[in-house]
Symmetry: none
Subunit: 141 residues, 4 copies
Amino acid sequence: MTLTVENAREIIRVTKEAGAAENMKPLSVVVVDAGGHVIAFERGEGAPPGRFDIAQGKAYGSIMLGIGGTAQRDRAEAQAYFVLAANGAYQGRLVPVPGGILVRDTKGAVIGAVGVTGDTSENDLAAGEAGIQAVGLIAEG
Amino acid sequence: MTLTVENAREIIRVTKEAGAAENMKPLSVVVVDAGGHVIAFERGEGAPPGRFDIAQGKAYGSIMLGIGGTAQRDRAEAQAYFVLAANGAYQGRLVPVPGGILVRDTKGAVIGAVGVTGDTSENDLAAGEAGIQAVGLIAEG
Amino acid sequence: MTLTVENAREIIRVTKEAGAAENMKPLSVVVVDAGGHVIAFERGEGAPPGRFDIAQGKAYGSIMLGIGGTAQRDRAEAQAYFVLAANGAYQGRLVPVPGGILVRDTKGAVIGAVGVTGDTSENDLAAGEAGIQAVGLIAEG
Amino acid sequence: MTLTVENAREIIRVTKEAGAAENMKPLSVVVVDAGGHVIAFERGEGAPPGRFDIAQGKAYGSIMLGIGGTAQRDRAEAQAYFVLAANGAYQGRLVPVPGGILVRDTKGAVIGAVGVTGDTSENDLAAGEAGIQAVGLIAEG
């Protein structure tokens, strides 16, 4: 199973709506495939211009390390130099905080990841989970 | 005037529909702002994974050089070393062929650019123009 | 369907044997997945130290552009500046000559790519095709 | 004396078997030569896609700094800024934790390095040592 473009568009739509419903700041959302390549992205209205890179870093790092942003943050807090070194190995493309979320199919296989940024990391994560669950997939943040 | 996220979403939707109506291969479309930063992107269904980089290169180069992809292509065919050198100055992020399209408002100011890839460069351009015109803006390919 | 590590190991083994049987120079062979990420690599015995990067460039470019090395070479000969610009968009990681080979499953889906280097580009391609066919998959060079 | 391709293949095979025998997660293993260039690599079955970069960082850093991953980790914990600065000097390619292992010949000369990743750093190291010893060489982790 793979994430379709339609899945990605719906994940973005629901994630942004979930953020708006909770009065979060405008969320920027990326969806990547199982290889970390971008399927779709939308910036939050009025958000700073470089949001793509942050959202992408959250999603890309989740794919590359095989763990969600919460686990990345925990590892970074326990052993910062390791996460910084891993970041170097991936050309500085990791953003190891909540809001990077693995997407698994109903059999448990990783089929992509979502990166959300704009509000607190925990709120980013909550909104992204709502988006992933809306298309019947499993979120691992 | 600035390009809104809603503009970008509509440009992508109409560009992809215009391609499908002409039986083009699935189009991938990026919309960037007046600083060359991504507002929204959507890959074509079934397209190769790295389409973002090509679409982005078309749009980014249009913003950086201040001319559309057709004029970039003409310059590259007349003086390849100049365009390659400019590409070095922009960290290799230019893709100087048709399908990179400046977006101007009705007063002529550049407010963003669109990058389209997936079919021939000329078809990519035609579809992108349809998308830009659908939101009442001016395309310069 | 995805390429397994065992598939990759067998593709490498048969590709190197096919080269040796035709008295080619020692071949270096990489196998990447559908996202362009390395599954397995083996340098040719006595080959120069940097063979990984060439083999990887052939395979990575095939995945990113969605065409094999022969089609990349043809495009480069017709429109060199485009292929060089695409290379910039992919951080200089393309090597657009024969020996980069898409791997399709029996339904036609791209599930990975192989990159072979060491002898002439045409011989590299022939050996890699033998490797891919040995595991019942389809080679598009 | 130099590490042969056959040595590298055997080191990878035994390292992965050693990991499996101890119920470790699937290990990804790279073998590099005395210049830090890849001889052979194999990802662990089912491991995340970017394992090459981590394994390579462990092995490359061992060669460049002339010490194994355990000594690198100790230095990083004592003086993080130094290891991070060294990492910058090597373009971010160091991963200074156990699992990066120097390979010495029986006279003590460094002839290559191994990078192992997938389980805990200590387990990665133990499995890699088994691989190196299986070909009659000396591991310095």
